[in-house]
């Protein structure tokens, strides 16, 4: 199953967001050529390279980098020199799409902006994804995944009414920008396939984050007020909460979405009397007595095992779940039952788990065909195989340090 088998993408992205975008394409059969430079390796390999980190191959052993770049071809080219730039333009001329997530001025400065690329490939689809966008008064402002989460106002939608706004604990904007970029780039590729027309696609990661919290601005616009921060309570679900269970730091989430689920919950916690109490018959009634209901559930939950109880509540028809740590997910019976985790052997790290495509097509996930390339691993295959360079030409490029397979120590530190 390779729906994207005809598609070639030249990938200038680094870190999490862009590589997540192109992983979506690579897993579905696209030929993704990841372009690094020994002088400027993907910073997700590590922030700084020293003789010591090179000696222990630290640049090849990062879990996050190795998870994000499987199924891609990896090449190095020094794009600051004309020879490297000319070679990458030859690849662009043979590609369907290009994607980059560099800081704003980097690609045009290298002579690889959209206006440069259309000269060699008028039908190229190019996507750029700066944090705050490439136009407007904040164009060029810098940001990480956290910055765009902050900048979209998302923290104002989470937390207690008398507490601070609350951020999440991942680089939220990176993953969100990544799958939005995959979606938009695929739309551009489909349009090109149908019409032959390429185009420039731009997205601002902060605007992708606005969509995650879309109920906030809608609430503001329709009611004149922001949605109140209500801790673990919910405008529709009642009761809604996270309750301490037996054991250390063990928690159970319960979210009752209708009256039938409430009656089922009352039965499951051996409080059938609550199911017939008229005060609790409707969600509005339960919301107005939420403290009282929480006290009952909390008292009951204290002696329960979170996982066993979630199973039992679900069997009774109540939405409930144990609060899992992400590191526990490798052994998750549901995910494993759906074939979500697969192991892949890679140089320098051995067999390690990978998540697979987050959907199945006709019951199958995208195949994990090869692991994340070591730096410059596919120089010969891509520059020789696709561009037809001879062994002697490849040797010359290596001698001139246009291509290579080891990150440079001094220059990499300067450019970070």
């Amino acid at each position: 199953m390779k729906p994207l088998r005809d598609i070639r993408v030249v990938d200038f992205t680094m870190g999490w967001s862009g590589p997540l975008a192109t992983r979506h394409l690579a897993d579905m059969g696209a030929e993704v050529i990841k372009v690094e430079a020994c002088q400027y390796a993907d910073w997700w390999r590590g922030w700084e390279h020293t003789e010591e980190t090179l000696a222990r191959m630290a640049h090849e052993t990062t879990a996050a980098f190795n998870l994000m770049n499987r199924n891609k071809l990896g090449i190095t080219l020094d794009l600051t020199r004309e020879k490297g730039r000319a070679l990458v333009l030859k690849l662009v001329a043979r590609a369907d799409a290009v994607i980059e997530n560099q800081a704003q001025p980097v690609m045009p400065k290298l002579g690889l902006g959209y206006s440069d690329l259309v000269k060699v490939n008028p039908a190229i689809v190019m996507l750029s994804m700066p944090g705050f966008g490439s136009t407007g008064p904040w164009a060029g402002y810098r940001g990480y995944g956290s910055t765009v989460e902050h900048g979209a106002g998302l923290p104002h939608l989470t937390g207690e009414s008398d507490g601070p706004p609350v951020q999440t604990h991942i680089a939220y904007g990176d993953a969100c920008g990544g799958f939005n970029a995959a979606a938009a780039l695929l739309v551009g590729i489909l349009h090109r396939k149908r019409t032959g027309e390429g185009q420039f696609i731009n997205l601002a990661q902060v605007e992708c984050m606005l969509q995650l919290g879309i109920h906030g601005p809608i609430h503001q616009a329709l009611t004149g007020e922001a949605p109140p921060r209500t801790g673990n309570r919910h405008p529709v679900h009642a009761p809604s909460g996270i309750y301490a269970c037996a054991g250390d730091d063990s928690w159970l989430t319960i979210a009752v979405t209708d009256d039938a689920e409430w009656r089922a919950l009352a039965g499951a916690i051996d409080r059938r009397d609550l199911a017939t109490d008229a005060r609790f018959a409707t969600a509005a009634g339960r919301r107005s007595c939420h403290d009282e209901i929480d006290a009952v559930i909390a008292d009951w939950a204290r002696s329960q095992d979170a996982r066993v109880t979630a199973d039992r509540l679900q069997a009774a028809g109540v939405p409930a779940a144990p609060v899992l740590r992400s590191d526990e997910l490798g052994g998750d019976p549901h995910l494993n039952g759906r074939g979500f985790w697969v192991e892949l052997e890679r140089a320098h790290v051995g067999r390690k788990p990978h998540s697979t495509s987050p959907y199945l097509i006709d019951g199958a996930r995208g195949a994990l065909e090869w692991p994340t390339p070591t730096i410059g691993e596919h120089n010969d295959a891509v520059l020789g195989g696709i561009l037809g360079l001879s062994e002697a030409e490849l040797r010359d490029l290596a001698d001139e340090n246009i291509i290579g397979t080891v990150p440079f120590v001094p220059k990499a530190a300067q450019r970070g």
Binding site: I7, Q199, E207, P217, L360
Partner: protein, 400 residues
């Protein structure tokens, strides 16, 4: 001059009633130019019509804010899929469509299973297989099972549920990715297919690194307190003058020195205990005290622009009231007009992709429940007015 068309112009999508996730997936398809026909049950319509906020009293099923946003630019037809005639009509519509998005609402028989070219998309909380396939869920349930919620909140707990529909929006985009991927495959000669998309696996985009890192070096997820991010610190929110909030992230040493210098705490930056994120994490109370004291001098907006002028990844954390008025978002036309049934409009952030050649539909109006039943059944199935009346009468009776 002809107006540029959307990239999905010419594609027909059938969307059944479901969740925010399936409706958002349909909204993306509609924004890109597809004709999205939503099949809704009689009387109540799509469950998203009942979600708050509401502009006016007595608002269901036409005035819900989430409905007006999620269903903009779609067509609405009413069919009771639990009746044989209603299901047959839906099956005929699906057979002639390019894409089906099934949101998992109701218990009707599957649609489109015999169509050779249809991209069937089954978007459910847990997927079509696996031990939890029949579990019930909400965003909070999914975020609990994905490891997303665990690290958010006070160290002693409980973890905090993020507001809104963040997991479902994520799943809507992910299902859209799968659909466009399959449509590209179809252009290369593939037949139709069935996409099995779960909200849980979409949400794992955020947390899939947890078990992988654990396999590499035994790292476990930890909850260290509200807005206390590990390993980077500060990567947090600070209060500023007049109740405003600033997002501060310092990943590199230069950003740490730069942030301290900007707020007027240069000496503090060179404290030998604070030279690494790890050190700053251990001494977070000292770091917070210094930042909060200095930042109180100005509003967050001022610190934001001054910080960014020095290439510091600072962010104003705008309130919902501030968002639509920010000059940057105005210049980029981030907010679009969505129409209420009475003709009033409200502004909400539109789908954020900027295509140079195939512009998106921005804003727009959502259909009244069943507004297009007559037109769609006539246009697409060639049904006569009498047949349509018979069908709709029968199916609404079936629901009563």
């Amino acid at each position: 001059m002809t107006q540029a068309r959307g990239a999905l112009d010419g594609y027909v999508v059938i969307e059944t009633a479901g969740t925010v996730a399936s409706a958002y997936c349909g909204a993306l398809l509609a924004a890109c130019g597809a004709e999205v026909i939503k099949i809704e049950p009689p009387v109540t319509g799509d469950p998203v019509r009942a979600l708050p906020p509401f502009a006016k009293a007595g608002a269901v099923p036409e005035n819900g804010g989430m409905h007006l946003f999620l269903n903009a630019n779609k067509r609405s037809i009413v069919l009771d899929l639990d009746t044989a005639d209603g299901h047959r009509a839906a099956e005929q519509l699906a057979a002639a469509a390019d894409v089906l998005v099934e949101g998992g609402s109701g218990n009707h028989e599957p649609l489109g299973t015999d169509s050779a070219h249809l991209v069937r998309t089954i978007l459910t909380w847990f997927g079509m297989t696996g031990p939890r396939r029949d579990w019930r869920a909400t965003d909070a349930v999914i975020q609990s099972l994905s490891g997303f919620i665990y690290p958010i909140g006070p160290e002693a707990g409980p973890p905090i549920i993020p507001g809104g529909y963040q997991a479902q929006v994520t799943a809507g985009v992910t299902a859209f990715i799968a659909i466009i991927t399959a449509l590209i495959g179809r252009e290369s000669g593939d037949r139709g297919c069935t996409i099995d998309q779960s909200v849980l696996e979409a949400e794992l985009a955020y947390t899939e690194m947890g078990p992988v890192k654990h396999a590499y070096d035994g790292e476990t997820s930890a909850r260290k307190g509200i807005n206390r991010f590990r390993p980077t610190y500060p990567q947090t929110l600070y209060p500023c003058a007049e109740g405003t909030w600033l997002g501060v992230t310092t990943v590199t040493p230069l950003q740490w020195y730069g942030a301290c210098d900007l707020i007027g705490a240069r000496d503090f930056a060179y404290d030998p205990r604070l030279q690494t994120s790890e050190g700053r994490n251990d001494l977070w109370q000292e770091v917070d005290a210094v930042f909060i004291r200095h930042l109180a001098a100005k509003r967050a907006e001022e610190w934001f622009h001054e910080g960014q002028a020095r290439r510091l990844p600072f962010a104003l954390v705008p309130t919902m009231a501030e968002l639509s008025g920010l000059d940057h978002f105005q210049a980029r036309e981030v907010f679009a007009d969505f129409r209420l049934p009475d003709g009033d409009t409200f502004q909400a952030p539109s789908i954020p992709w900027k295509f140079a050649a195939t512009p998106l539909r921005q804003g727009g109006a959502a259909p009244r429940l069943g507004a297009d039943t007559q037109a769609v059944l006539s246009e697409r199935l060639g049904m006569s007015d009498a047949d349509i009346v018979a069908l709709t009468t029968a199916t609404s009776r079936g629901a009563a």
